[in-house]
Structure formats: structure tokens, C-alpha cells
């Protein structure tokens, strides 16, 4: 009886078998990594805005307070987007005929809103509220990153559920005195842990069980 397979056949067979196995594992790893990639989380991308608005300029250089434009951040679920007239309070005086500001002037003139592209966005089945986070001493920077250093605005953190959970499971390290909430330069005191514990008590922060209950964010 003649040999059916050459000597090398076995090497091939093993190669294929191992290859398949590795490929399967690799596939899983790739998927795993992709789900956590900046690409998937739309992190650090600056969409094309009608006006190249610079937080860096307005916050760091001009020292405008967040609440000047995002006026409802303490009183409403939404931080609130500045109406055109808010922009024009200043820009009717400065840069009155700067090319980049044309859309703003046009918006006011034609009474048509400016369509900004949203950068920090959660799915519609997630009910995030700004007011409560501010009230409990969670700073802008916790979710929006160093927005005061962004010439063009981008999403600084991956808004994955895990990101929210990390904080809701152990809020203490993310808390700061309420008056420091808008301060991007705030440095935690040496004994941050103690401060965290104190604020947890002062602000009546709920227990992790309550904070991670599904109904807290989903309805």
C-alpha cells in the first residue's frame, strides 16, 4: 500500500491546526482591544465645527467662567449650550468682523441657530445629569478632561459604562470642594483620601449600591 501523505504532511497539519487556534485567540484579543480603542470611543477627535471655537482661548486666556456660557449646568440636567446672543455679547464689541465669526453674526442676523457638533455625548438610554454631579463636587475635568487646554474641543474620556461605574463605585477620589469644581488648576491636598472621606460625608454621597443601581442612569 502506497503512502497517502508525504513526510511534510504532518508538519502542514500541525501548522494549520495551531494557526487556526492562534487566529481564534487573536480575533478575540483584537475585538477586546477595539472595544476599548479611542477610535471606537470617539476619543480625542475634533469634529469640524461651524466655528473653530477654542476653549483654551476663552477659558485660559480670557478667564471666562464655564457657567457664563453653560449657564444651566448647576440647575438642569443639561449644561446648556450658549445661545448666539451670548457669543455676541462680547463679539459685538471684539472681532466684530473677523472672518471666523461670520457664522455667528449670520446666525443672529437670520435668527437661525448655529448647529454645533456634539463632542461629549452619551447614548439616549443614559440619563446623565450635570446639576447633581456639580452639586456633589464632581469637577468638569473628571469627565471633560483639561478642556481649558483644548484649542479645538474633543472628547477626553471614553464614555463607556465602565468609566461611569469606576466613579460610582468609589466616588471619594473624584470629589473636591464645591467651590473648586470649575477650577482646572486645583491640586488635591496631600491627604486626598481624608478629604474624599470628609466630602463623602458632607455631601451625603449615596452608597455604591445605590449609585450603581441600574435605575440611577437607565430608565
Amino acid at each position: 500500500m502506497p503512502q497517502i501523505f508525504s513526510r511534510t504532511a504532518d508538519s502542514w497539519l500541525r501548522a494549520v491546526a495551531w494557526g487556526a487556534l492562534l487566529f481564534a485567540i487573536g480575533l478575540f484579543l483584537v475585538a477586546f482591544a477595539f472595544a476599548r480603542s479611542q477610535y471606537w470611543d470617539v476619543v480625542a477627535r475634533t469634529p469640524l465645527q461651524p466655528v473653530p471655537f477654542s476653549h483654551k482661548h476663552h477659558v485660559t486666556d480670557d478667564g471666562i467662567d464655564c457657567r457664563y456660557c453653560h449657564s444651566t449646568v448647576e440647575t438642569s440636567a443639561n449644561a446648556g449650550f450658549p445661545a448666539t446672543h451670548v457669543c455676541m455679547t462680547c463679539h459685538s464689541q471684539l472681532w466684530t468682523n473677523a472672518e471666523v465669526l461670520a457664522p455667528v453674526r449670520q446666525s443672529l442676523a437670520e435668527n437661525r441657530p448655529i448647529l454645533w457638533r456634539r463632542v461629549a455625548r452619551v447614548p439616549d438610554y443614559v440619563y446623565f445629569r450635570h446639576d447633581i454631579h456639580i452639586a456633589k463636587g464632581v469637577a468638569c475635568v473628571e469627565c471633560h478632561g483639561r478642556i481649558d487646554r483644548m484649542p479645538l474641543t474633543y472628547r477626553a474620556k471614553a464614555f463607556e459604562m465602565k468609566f461611569c461605574l469606576d466613579c460610582h463605585r468609589d466616588p471619594a477620589p473624584h470629589l473636591r470642594p464645591r467651590d473648586q469644581v470649575y477650577n482646572f488648576e486645583w491640586k488635591p491636598p496631600p491627604d486626598h483620601a481624608a478629604l474624599g472621606r470628609r466630602l463623602m460625608a458632607d455631601y451625603h454621597i449615596k452608597s455604591p449600591a445605590e449609585l450603581t443601581s441600574c435605575g440611577t442612569c437607565h430608565r
Binding site: Q3, F5, S213
Partner: protein, 177 residues
């Protein structure tokens, strides 16, 4: 013309014939021998002293233990990592967990056993010198073969050939690489 020789393959007509032949070969002090048959021959394992091999059993046990522990660990971790009240039941609902643990135990036990088997008997091995010998194909049909390897200390190019004949082999073939 001293081309390389791996051993001799003797062909027998019945299971009994092979059985006796193997027994005698063993008795005559051949150690590197193997028997081939279309179906397992009762007792052959004893003759070739393979009986005392319990590796499979242990491997299976290991698999089972691994499976049950792995799943139990998962279940406990899951309920510690994100404790959620479900139907007023406790976080560690042992009776409920047991079910899947059992399944995983079985799954891993079987997987281990099968993989273990192939490792032990060295399969898959598509190419084998024996396949090269003309009549070996009948080993999977109705013939029975006794193989004496050249590495056997008692092996001798002429002697062994005739020895196989004396065991009642119908044909004796050299096995070449």
C-alpha cells in the same frame, strides 16, 4: 545494498494467531514490538504491558476539577464585581450556581480526555513508514500484524525475519522509511 530498515511486519490470519504470536515474541524477549488489528483484541494490552497506564483517568479528573473551579470562580467574581439584587435572592445562590458548574465540569473533563488521548498515542500522524508496507492496509480490515522494531536489542536482519515466519506469519515484510 544495506538500505535502512526499520523493522519487520508479520501478517496473521486471525486474532488468536496474532495474540499467541505476540505472547511468544514477548516470552522470547522481544521488547520493541507492536501488534496491529482491525479491532481491539482482548488481553492484548496485558501482553504488551499497557494495562497499568491510568493517565487518561487522571487527565479527565484534572479536567473536571479545573472546569468546576473555573466556573465557580467566575460566578463568585461576577457577583462580587457587580453585586445586584435579583429577585431578593442572595448574591451567592449556590444551588443555582451548581447547575452550570456541573456542566463546565463535564465539558472540561471530556475536552481534557480527548486531547490527552491524542497526545498520548501521538496522533494525528498522517505519514507513517508502516503505511508504506504493501499489505499493512489490511490491518484495518481482516488481517492482524505483528511488528518487530529494528531498535530491539534481539533484532537481527535475517533471524527476526525467519522468526516471524516461525510464529506462523503468512507473510513477513520489511518496513522501510
Amino acid at each position: 545494498m544495506a538500505e535502512h530498515l526499520l523493522g519487520y511486519l508479520g501478517e496473521f490470519g486471525t486474532a488468536d494467531a496474532l495474540f499467541d504470536a505476540t505472547k511468544r515474541a514477548k516470552a522470547d524477549g522481544f521488547s520493541c514490538i507492536d501488534a496491529f488489528s482491525p479491532f481491539p483484541i482482548e488481553g492484548m494490552a496485558d501482553v504488551l504491558a499497557l494495562k497499568r497506564d491510568h493517565r487518561i483517568g487522571w487527565i479527565t479528573l484534572a479536567g473536571g476539577i479545573f472546569g468546576i473551579l473555573a466556573m465557580l470562580a467566575t460566578q463568585l467574581f461576577v457577583n462580587v464585581d457587580y453585586p445586584i439584587e435579583v429577585g431578593g435572592r442572595p448574591l451567592f445562590a449556590w444551588p443555582a450556581f451548581a447547575v452550570v458548574d456541573f456542566e463546565l465540569m463535564i465539558l472540561c473533563a471530556v475536552l481534557f480526555a480527548v486531547i490527552g488521548m491524542f497526545v498520548i498515542i501521538g496522533l494525528p500522524r498522517l505519514h507513517h513508514p508502516l503505511f508504506g508496507t504493501p499489505r499493512f492496509g489490511l490491518a484495518s480490515e481482516d488481517r492482524f500484524f505483528l511488528y518487530i522494531d529494528a531498535t530491539d536489542p534481539k533484532f537481527d536482519r535475517q533471524e527476526t525475519r525467519s522468526y516471524l515466519g516461525s510464529l506462523g506469519a503468512w507473510t513477513v515484510e520489511p518496513v522501510r522509511p
